[in-house]
Subunit: 734 residues, 2 copies
C-alpha cells in the first residue's frame, strides 16, 4: 500500500509536468485564428479529478462476478451503470433493451471432446471447464463452461480424423491441400493468434470440416514455459481457454440492417450468417494430448508449437484404424434481451451535436481487462464530467453521450442495434465516437487506432497527458505522446506515432464503417509480438491480474481515462471542431500512390483506369487546402452561424465516404476507404472494396474474367465519385 | 391587344386585393411566437415585379424552335438560361454536363408503319411526321419525326396480327386473355390517356407482343369533333402525335444510382431497364385506318372510341389471311451530353440551407406548355429575385437555387444525375424542392401536389396570390387558394384544397422519393376529365396555343410565378421553417386507418400485425404535438443556435422516412411512405411497398405464400421502425 501511494504521489507531479508541456504543444498545433483559447480550467479540473483508486474500485466491483451478455449479472451491471451515471449528474440516463440471438453452453453439462478408441471407449476426455486458481471470483458458479458462441451444431459430432491446421488461415488450408491432407468430414484443430476465430471457422466450414477445435499454443501464450504463468505472471496456464464468438457478421444475426426492437422482423436462423459446424475451444494441456495421438505427415517446422511431441497434420490417429474424435456439444442459440446503458450530458450551446464515448460491458467471464478495465475508466470519466459540471455549474458546448454496450463479444451486437436504430440522427448530429474496449492490456505504450480526421485531436490530446510510467519519464518522455511516438513511430512520418486504421474488433465498427462517424480506439498495450494478451477471454481476467501484475497503482488506467476525457473535451469544447481534413488528404494521397504502385499497370492493361481515382484525391487535397487557407482562415468566430456552417462541413466530411449501396459483395460495409479486412475481421484495410476484387482476379485478365473486371471498373468509378463528392462538400456552394 | 391590356389592368387591382386578404389568412395560420412577421416589403416587391408580358416574351423565345434534349438547340437554351441567370444577378451560375443514353429517330427517314396485303403491297402507310398547321415555328426542319424514345428495336418488325388493347392497362390485357385474344407475337394498338406509356409497353412486352402502336383517341382528345381542333381550339387534330419516353426507370439508363459524370462506369445497354420491343406513336387519322382493317371479335362497349367503324380486338385483318403489319423503325439509342443550368443566389445568414426551384428545359418539339411555360416562369422568377436583391441590397436568409434540368422527358435524367451527384450535400442542406413543369395546362384551377410537410406553406402562400381569373374574382374568390379549394376540396378536410401526393411525373421524384427532400409541384390545370391536355407532347404546343387560347394575357402564368416565388420566399425567409409536421401526422393517421380498414383482418389472419405500424403513427403524432407545444412554443427566436436546431429537425424530418435499402422489389425508391405507383409511373401511392406486396398475394394466405408473407411482415416492421425514428428525431435527445 505504501509503495502504491508513493507511485500515486509521483504521478500527480507528472500530471502537472504533462500539462505544462502539453500546453506548449497544444498551442503550437492550433491556428489561433479559429481555435478557442483552451479552457484551461475545464481541462485542469477534469484531469485532476480522475482518480486511479476510483478506477480500481469500479473494476473490483465489475470483475467480481461473471457478466456474460444476456445474463442476470449483465443486466445488474447495466443497472449499476445507470445508477452510477445518474449519481454522477448526467442529465438523461436510459437502459435500452434489444431482443437478440445469443448463444450459450449448458451450465451443468459442459461441451466435451472425446478421443474414442476402436472399441468406442474414451481415451482422452476434455474437462470443458477452466479450473479456478487463485482469486475467489474464479470460483463463481456463474462462470460459463468453455464455449465458442454460435457453435453450429448440438449433440454428438463424430469424425474419424483430426487435422492440425496451424493458425487456420487461408494459406494454411492451402498448404494442407497441397500436401494431400483433406479436411472434408474431419475435425480441424487450429491455433488462436493470427486471425479472428470466425474467419478460421468460416474457412474450415467451406473446406468441408465438420467441427473445429481452437486452442492457444504455449509458443504464443506461455512463452516463459509452464512454470511462469498466471497467477504469478500474465502468461497462460494449460487449462486456460479463450472463449469467443465464431459469428462472422456484426449485430444481431436475425435483424440485419435494422434494429432488434420490439417490432422487428427476424429472419429465420437458417438464413443468418452463422456457422453450421461445431466449434469448441480447449486448453493447451488438452490439445497436447490430442496432438500426441495424431498421425499423418509431420507439420512443417514453422507450424510446430511448444507442445510435445512433433506436431503431425493428421487426419488419422497413430494408434490405428477405428479411432474417432467426438464432440459432445450443448452450445445453443437463444433469443435473449441485451441492454445498452446510455447516459447523456446535454451541451450548453449545441446540444444537438454529439460526442459519443463508448465501451462494452459484457464479458466472457470476469472480464477484468476485456472490457471492464474500459468500463471502469468510463465510469470514472462520467463521474469526473458530472463533478466538474456540478462544482462549476459548467456544461460543455456540445453534448456528451456515454454508451455502455451489451453483447459486444457476440458480434458488436449492442452497438450495432443502437446505431441501426439511431442511424439517421447519428449521421446528422454525431461529431465523433471515442471507443475504449480493453483500457489496459499492457503498460508498454499507447496503441492508437482511428480515422485520419481524428489524427490531430488524438495526438494533440495525448501530448497533454502525463506519462503513467516513471521509467519513461526518467527517459525524458514526460507525456503519453512521447512514449507513443517512441514505441510506434509512423514509418512515413517519424515525428508522429502510427495511428492504425480501424478494423472491426470493437464497437467503433458501426460508427465508422457503416455511418461514417469518425472514431478512435484507445488502449495501453504490451510489447510482445502476440495476437492478444495471453489471458484474453479466459477465466483469469481478474482484478488481481491488473492490480498486481499489469498495472500496479492503476496509473495506466488513469492515463487512458485522462486521454479519453481530453479528446472528448477537445471535441466538445472547441469552437471550431478539431477534425483534420488535411491529414485525410495526406492519407488518401499515400493510399492512392500505394495502389497505383502495386496495381497500376495491371489495371491499365485491363481497361480499368486509376486516372479518376487519382484526380479525385488531388481535388480532395486542393479542396482541403482551400477550406483551411480561405474558409477557416477568414472565419469570423463570433459569427455563430458561420461557425456552425464550417463545423457541419467538418462533421459531415467522413459521411461523404459512405456508399449506401455497400462495398462490392459486402453490402454490410459502407465506407469506401475503410473496412475490416475480408480475411481477418480483427484487421483493417484501405480501399478493400477495390483490393478484394483485385485479389480475386489475381493474374487473370479482363478477357478471362470480364464480369470481375467490370466490377473493378465500376468500383473505381464509385471511389472516384465519393472522393470528389467529399471534396465538393468543403466548398461553400453546390 | 386592347382586351389584353384591360385584363392586365384588372389583374393589378387583384394583386392588391389578394395581398390584403392573404395577410389576414397568413397571420391566422401562424403561431406568432415562432414565426417572423412577414417581410412585407420583400413579398410586395417580388409580387409586383413579376410581369406577365415578360413571361410571354420568354416563352415566345423558348418555343420558337424545337429543343429536344441533347440537341444543339437544347444546349443553346441551356446557355441562354445561364446568361439570363447571370444577367439577373445570381451569384453563381454553372452549366453542368452529363453524358447519358438518349434515343432519337432518324431526321430524314421517319419511322413508318405499313399494312401489307397478301401480296406484300402496302395498303396503309403512316406518314411518320406531324403536318405543320398554322404557326411558323411548326414548320421548323428541326422538328423530330414522330417517335417514342427508347423504342427497343431498329429495322423491320413484322407481325401477322394487330391487337387493340384499349388503354393498355393490366385489366385490359387480362380482358384480352379472358376472351382468347393472345398478343404474343403480335403488335399492340393502345390508346394514350389512362397510364404512363412505359407501363403500357412494359405490359405488352411481358405478354409477348413484338411491337406497340400508341395513339390518342378523339373520344378523349378531340371531344368536340374533328372540326373544333387546333389551331382554333386546344383539341387535337387527326395527325397530331404524342411523343414520349417508354423507359420505365428514372435517370440515365446506363448509370443507375450513380451520376453520369466523366468518370462514371456504364452498364451494358443490355442490362439497362429499357424495352426490347418496337414502339411508335401514330395519329388518330392513321389509327382509324388500321382499326378499319382489323378483324377479330368486337371490342367491348367501354373500349369503343370515336373513330369509325366499330373497334375490333384483332388480331387478324378483315381483308383475309396473309395480311401483315410492318413497323419500319429507325429510332436508336445514343450517348449524348445533356446539360443542367444551375443558378445560385446565396443566402445571407444561412447560405448552407438550400431552397431549390426547378423546371426542365427539354421538349419533344416546341414544348410551349411542356415545359417552356414553366421555364418562362422560372426565368421571370430569377429576374425578379435578382432585381429585388439589386434594388434593395437584399439577400434572403437562406440560399435559393434555380435548376433548369435537361432530358427530363426521357426519364427525369438531368435531375436524377444531379441529385445522385449531390445526394449527400442535398440530404444535409436542402430545405425543400419546388417544381414547376408545365406551368399552365389550363385556366380552371391550381392543381397542387406535394409532401404533407409542405401543405401549410403551399396553402398559406396560395392565399396571398391574387386570382388570375376575373370570373372567379367576380364569384368572390379573390385568391388562387379560393378557386383551388372551390374546385378541388379535400374530401376529408373540405376547408382546404386537395393536395395530391407526388408520383414520378416530373423532376421532384429524385428529391422526394430518393432523398426525402420535401417537394411540391405547381401548375394551373383544366377542368376536363382527360389524362392530359389534348396537345400534350405534340408539335402543336406553341406560344399561340397559350397566348391566344389557353392563357390570354398570361395571367395564369403570372399567378403560378407569383405563387412559386412566394412559397420560395416563405421557406427562404421564415426564421422558423414553415414545414408542417402536424399535417404529416394527420396524413399518416389517415393512411394507417385506411390500410387497417382495407387489409387489417387479412394481415392479422396471416401473422402480420398492424400493431407496431399503428403504434408508430400514434407516437409520431405525440412527438409532433410535443415538438409544437413545447419545443417550438418555448423557442427563444433570438437564440440563433436554438433556432437552427429546431430548423434542422424540421428540415431533416422527411429524411427519416428514407430507407437506403429501398422498397421491397423496388430498390430504386427509398421513401417508405411515398412512391410512384408500380402500375402507373404518373400516379403516386402511399405505403406502396406494403400495398404492392399485398396486391401480389391477393387472397393467398401465409400457408400458400410463405415467402411473400414474410416480406409483408418484414416490411411492416420496417415501416414501423422508420416512423418511430422520425418521431424520435423531434425530441431533444437521442
Amino acid at each position: 500500500m505504501e509503495t502504491k501511494n508513493l507511485v500515486i504521489s509521483f504521478a500527480i507531479l507528472y500530471v502537472v509536468t504533462g500539462v505544462a508541456i502539453g500546453v506548449g504543444l497544444y498551442y503550437a498545433g492550433y491556428n489561433a485564428d479559429h481555435s478557442p483559447a483552451p479552457k484551461m480550467d475545464v481541462f485542469q479540473q477534469l484531469q485532476n479529478e480522475i482518480s486511479a483508486d476510483k478506477i480500481s474500485g469500479y473494476l473490483k466491483n465489475l470483475s467480481s462476478v461473471p457478466h456474460l451478455a444476456g445474463t442476470a449479472q449483465d443486466y445488474e451491471q447495466a443497472v449499476w451503470l445507470h445508477d452510477n451515471f445518474v449519481q454522477s449528474g448526467l442529465d438523461r440516463v436510459v437502459i435500452v433493451p434489444y431482443q437478440v440471438l445469443l448463444s450459450y453452453p449448458n451450465m451443468t453439462q459442459p461441451n466435451i471432446v472425446r478421443l474414442l478408441d476402436d472399441k468406442g471407449l474414451a481415451n482422452i476426455t476434455t474437462s470443458g471447464k477452466q479450473t479456478p486458481i487463485s482469486q475467489p471470483e474464479e470460483f463463481s458458479e456463474l462462470a460459463a463452461p468453455n464455449f465458442n458462441a454460435y457453435s453450429g451444431q448440438t449433440g454428438l459430432i463424430e469424425s474419424d480424423g483430426l487435422v492440425y491446421a496451424h493458425y487456420g488461415q487461408m494459406e494454411d488450408f492451402e498448404y494442407l491441400e497441397s500436401v494431400g491432407v483433406n479436411v472434408s468430414g474431419k475435425i480441424v484443430l487450429a491455433r488462436y493468434g493470427a486471425s479472428f476465430r470466425a474467419n478460421i471457422v468460416d474457412l474450415a466450414q467451406r473446406k468441408g470440416a465438420v467441427g473445429v477445435l481452437l486452442y492457444s499454443d504455449p509458443k504464443d501464450f506461455a512463452k516463459k514455459g509452464r512454470n511462469d504463468i498466471y497467477p504469478d505472471s500474465w502468461w497462460m496456464p494449460g487449462m486456460a481457454v479463450q472463449s469467443g464468438t465464431v459469428y462472422l457478421g456484426n449485430g444481431d444475426p436475425l435483424t440485419p440492417f435494422y434494429p432488434a426492437v420490439e417490432s422487428a422482423y427476424r429472419i429465420p436462423e437458417s438464413e443468418a450468417l452463422l456457422p453450421s459446424i461445431a466449434v469448441q475451444p480447449i486448453g493447451y494441456d488438452e490439445a497436447e494430448l490430442l496432438l500426441q495421438a495424431m498421425g499423418g505427415p509431420p507439420a512443417p517446422d514453422q507450424w510446430q508449437g511448444d507442445l510435445e511431441p512433433v506436431y503431425s497434420l493428421g487426419p488419422g490417429f497413430k494408434y490405428g484404424d477405428g479411432w474417432k474424435l467426438e464432440m459432445d456439444m450443448q452450445t445453443a442459440n437463444k433469443l435473449v434481451t441485451t441492454y445498452n446503458t446510455i447516459g447523456m450530458l446535454y451541451g450548453q450551446e449545441e446540444p444537438d451535436r454529439y460526442v459519443l464515448v463508448g465501451n462494452h460491458r459484457d464479458a466472457w467471464t470476469l472480464g477484468a481487462l476485456d472490457p471492464s478495465s474500459g468500463t471502469a475508466c468510463m465510469l470514472e470519466m462520467a463521474r469526473t464530467f458530472g463533478k466538474v459540471k456540478q462544482d462549476y455549474n459548467w456544461r460543455p458546448r456540445r453534448s456528451l453521450i456515454f454508451c455502455s454496450w451489451g453483447a459486444e463479444e457476440y458480434g458488436l451486437i449492442g452497438s450495432y442495434e443502437w446505431v441501426e436504430e439511431h442511424a439517421k440522427v447519428l449521421s446528422q448530429r454525431a461529431v465523433a465516437y471515442l471507443n475504449v474496449d480493453i483500457a489496459v492490456e499492457g503498460n508498454y505504450s499507447l496503441w492508437g487506432s482511428g480515422a485520419p480526421l481524428m489524427n490531430k485531436v488524438y495526438l494533440d490530446s495525448s501530448k497533454r497527458i502525463a506519462n503513467p510510467s516513471a521509467d519513461e519519464v526518467a527517459q525524458k518522455r514526460p507525456t503519453v505522446f512521447d512514449t507513443w511516438v517512441h514505441r510506434y513511430p509512423d514509418a512515413n512520418h517519424p515525428t508522429k506515432p502510427k495511428v492504425n486504421i480501424l478494423g472491426s474488433g470493437s464497437d467503433y465498427t458501426a460508427f465508422m464503417h457503416v455511418l461514417g462517424v469518425p472514431a478512435i480506439d484507445i488502449r495501453y498495450t504490451y510489447e510482445e509480438d502476440i495476437g492478444s494478451y495471453p489471458l484474453y477471454h479466459t477465466l483469469y481476467e481478474t482484478h488481481h491480474l491488473l492490480a498486481d501484475i499489469m498495472d500496479v497503482g492503476f496509473l495506466h488506467h488513469r492515463a487512458v481515462t485522462q486521454l479519453w476525457a481530453e479528446v472528448a473535451r477537445n471535441l466538445l469544447e472547441s469552437v471550431v471542431l478539431p477534425l483534420d481534413p488535411d491529414w485525410y488528404a495526406t492519407y488518401l494521397a499515400e493510399q492512392v500512390a500505394g495502389i497505383q504502385s502495386r496495381y497500376g499497370s495491371q489495371l491499365e492493361a485491363n481497361n480499368a483506369t486509376m486516372k479518376y481515382f487519382q484526380l479525385a484525391v488531388t481535388h480532395f487535397g486542393e479542396a482541403v487546402r482551400h477550406f483551411q487557407n480561405t474558409t477557416l482562415a477568414n472565419l469570423d468566430t463570433s459569427d455563430v452561424l458561420a461557425v456552425r456552417r464550417v463545423n457541419d462541413q467538418l462533421m459531415q466530411l467522413e459521411r461523404h465516404f459512405i456508399d449506401p449501396h455497400g462495398l462490392p459483395n459486402r453490402p454490410e460495409y459502407n465506407h469506401i476507404v475503410f473496412a475490416p479486412s475480408s480475411s481477418d475481421g480483427y484487421s483493417s484495410s484501405s480501399f478493400s472494396g477495390l483490393t478484394d476484387l483485385l485479389e480475386a482476379v489475381g493474374e487473370q485478365t479482363i478477357v478471362q474474367k470480364p464480369v470481375e473486371w467490370a466490377q473493378i471498373q465500376q468500383h473505381l468509378s464509385v471511389i472516384a465519385f465519393y472522393i470528389e463528392a467529399a471534396a465538393k462538400s468543403l466548398s461553400d456552394h453546390i
